[in-house]
């Protein structure tokens, strides 16, 4: 499509800002905290700092001159290297999902950063543009999409008549995006309570309080006033009320910033998720590349009837800290809506609510299986015999409590575990307090295994497991199903031969 191009010149500025940010710590340490110090360490430290700073600055500029990229009809070509040159070619068909992140910096200059993520193992797996204009990003994304479409079209030549019609369809697709979910204010408030994000303020405030306390203790004069303040009960209640309100607003604002602009939409073949008010992130994945779906519920969410739908993609979600959450369709969906949405967005995925529980035999195995955690903990307690609250016998009490907790969670786990093989889907549900439902298609599973240990053999039980593409590979499975089920599972996977298309 284009000749090899340099990256956006703003990249230099961006990297420079990053450099400044990273060196702030050193600047403060060497020039503020140790300002008067004459020790050799500090003097040499300063010199090293200046050299490092200078070198990085030069390398930023050189990098901009040497790094180039190019797009053609099938792939990305990336050129880099100041002294040793390297060229990398990544075909579009390997790209699993696209991740766009617009931070405040990007906002100011009306640019964005795009990550095209692949399923390749190793460090240099993704095609990353840290600074790129919005328009260019859009163009690249749609270019990639359309070429992948064309390739598909040539493969399924029977399905589509000619490429022109496909292109038309792609164009139509962009305007055809249907919105699936946009949280209302009420949803966000609910979400902020579920996420317990208002609790974040508590450690902050308490540390602040202790700091103040310290200061006031140092300055003896103030102690009197401070104690008077604390002493009057109405003042204390007032402070507490203020704190509670502050932390709740803080929680709501935080959630609002994070999920405020949330939107889940999809068109003919891709799913789009955008979120964030200030730091905007957009995620898009081709429907065909969704490897599995997971529906997760923590205990809070179960009480409030909310759920989180996660899409498993083979591409890494490596870029920033909060990327773990980015592949989830809104994490605080009402349960019913969550199921509806899966069938809306991914019509070729079916989720059945009817599932088979575990056999009774498995109940006893689960309950009576020795718990290593308990054994080790008990041995430790027996050895050290800690006394808590001046009670000598704490060790066996603690051990008993731990045992009870383990039993209860196992019981819950047993009653929450379900599985089903449904045509060409497999579903597992497990978990004691927090549950998760895993759904995958037969042709997306890359490997299966059945294991049986000696006790399972005696009782006619087995454990089944699947491996899905993801980064790192996703293992899922269920312990102690009946042997017949394991056999069926094995045969079910064998049936795969009927549905895969071979080139």
């Amino acid at each position: 499509m284009t000749k090899a191009k340099r990256y956006n010149p703003l990249l230099m500025l961006f990297n420079f800002c990053k450099l400044i940010r990273n060196s702030i710590f050193f600047v403060i340490y060497f020039f503020v905290i140790k300002a008067g110090s004459e020790s050799t360490f500090i003097t040499y430290g300063r010199i090293v700092f200046f050299i490092a700073f200078g070198l990085t600055l030069i390398s930023i500029i050189l990098k901009w001159f040497t790094h180039k990229f190019e797009l053609d009809n099938r792939s990305f070509h990336l050129y880099k290297g100041i002294f040793s040159k390297s060229e990398r070619t990544i075909p579009f068909s390997e790209i699993q999902n696209v991740n766009r992140h617009t931070s405040l910096f990007h906002r100011i200059f009306k640019v964005t950063s795009v990550n095209f993520e692949t399923g390749i193992a190793g460090g240099d797996a993704d095609v990353r543009f840290e600074v790129i204009s919005q328009k260019e990003a859009d163009r690249m994304e749609s270019h990639m999409k359309s070429t992948v479409q064309e390739e598909l079209a040539t493969i399924h030549a029977s399905e589509y008549k000619d490429i022109a019609s496909v292109e038309a369809e792609v164009k139509k697709g962009i305007s055809n995006r249907t919105n699936h979910y946009k949280p209302t204010k009420k949803d966000i408030i609910k979400a902020s309570f579920t996420s317990l994000s208002f609790l974040v303020l508590i450690p902050l405030i308490s540390s602040f309080y202790f700091k103040i306390n310290e200061i006031f203790h140092v300055e003896n004069e103030a102690v009197g006033i401070f104690e008077k303040l604390i002493g009057s009960w109405w003042m204390v209640t007032f402070i507490i009320i203020v704190l509670v309100i502050a932390s709740i607003t803080f929680g709501i604002v935080r959630t609002f910033l994070k999920y405020g602009n949330y939107q889940v939409s999809s068109d003919h073949d891709r799913i789009y998720i955008t979120k964030g008010l200030i730091d905007e992130t957009a995620f898009s994945i081709s429907k065909e590349k969704v490897q599995a779906i997971e529906i997760k519920q923590s205990i809070m969410k179960r009480i409030l009837g909310l759920a989180e739908v996660k899409l498993t993609s083979a591409g890494g979600l490596s870029s920033e800290e909060d990327t773990l959450e980015i592949n989830s369709l809104y994490p605080y969906l009402p349960v019913k809506r969550a199921y509806e949405m899966v069938s809306e967005i991914l019509p070729f995925y079916e989720i059945t609510q009817k599932m088979t529980p575990l056999p009774i035999k498995s109940f006893w195995v689960r309950i009576l299986w020795p718990s290593w955690l308990w054994i080790i903990a008990t041995v430790f307690l027996l050895y050290f015999k800690p006394t808590v609250l001046e009670v000598e016998e704490t060790w066996w009490m603690l051990s008993a409590i731990l045992l009870i907790i383990i039993f209860v969670s196992r019981l819950l786990d047993f009653f929450n575990t379900f599985y089903i093989l449904n045509d060409h889907f497999i579903q597992f549900k497990k978990g004691s307090m927090a549950t998760s439902l895993f759904v995958s298609k037969r042709d997306k599973i890359i490997e299966v295994n059945v294991t049986r240990n000696i006790i399972q053999k005696m009782l006619g039980l087995a454990s089944i497991g699947t491996i899905n593409r993801a980064k790192p590979v996703h293992h899922a499975g269920i312990n102690h199903v009946s042997i017949e089920m394991a056999d069926a599972f094995y045969k079910w996977y064998m049936e795969r031969r009927n549905e895969i298309k071979v080139e």
Partner: protein, 146 residues
């Protein structure tokens, strides 16, 4: 064959333990280190006895099969593991031979998939090479990209 390699590993382990015990005695380390070392020795003696028996059992229970669509691996006596790998998902096969294996004209075949790696230990060389080529042949068939 497996017995041999097990024995070599055991021998090395015992040598290391012996050195440690000697050092312990020589430099009189802390008492608890000595205890731990004695425990480890006891356990590894038991392990050595087990390793004399286990190769026969393991050998008797190792099964594999490769056809056009799947590679099936089955192993284990107490913990039985049964794996099913589609040929289309296999990324590479290799035969490997250490000095011990070479002496007996054996080879192990290792198979890498997208998600994991498997190995079939200690096959006669011709069989191993034939299997490797066969798997490579089957794995050539590509699934339509998904």
């Amino acid at each position: 064959m497996w017995m041999l390699s097990e024995m070599v590993t055991n021998l090395i382990a015992f040598i290391i333990l012996g050195v440690l015990l000697y050092l312990d005695y020589r430099f009189s380390w802390k008492e608890w280190i000595g205890w731990i070392l004695i425990w480890i020795t006891a356990i590894s003696v038991l392990g050595a006895v087990w390793s004399l028996i286990s190769p026969f059992l393991l050998y008797k229970n190792w099964r594999f099969d490769a056809d056009e669509e799947f590679l099936q691996l089955k192993s284990g006596v107490l913990n039985e593991v049964h794996e099913l790998v589609p040929m289309t998902k296999i990324q590479s096969v290799a035969t490997k031979q250490g000095p011990l294996l070479r002496k007996y004209g054996l080879c192990s075949v290792s198979i890498e998939t997208m998600g994991s790696s498997h190995s079939i230990p200690a096959l006669p060389k011709e069989v191993a090479i034939k299997l490797r080529n066969q798997i490579a042949q089957y794995a050539k068939i590509k699934e339509v990209v998904q």
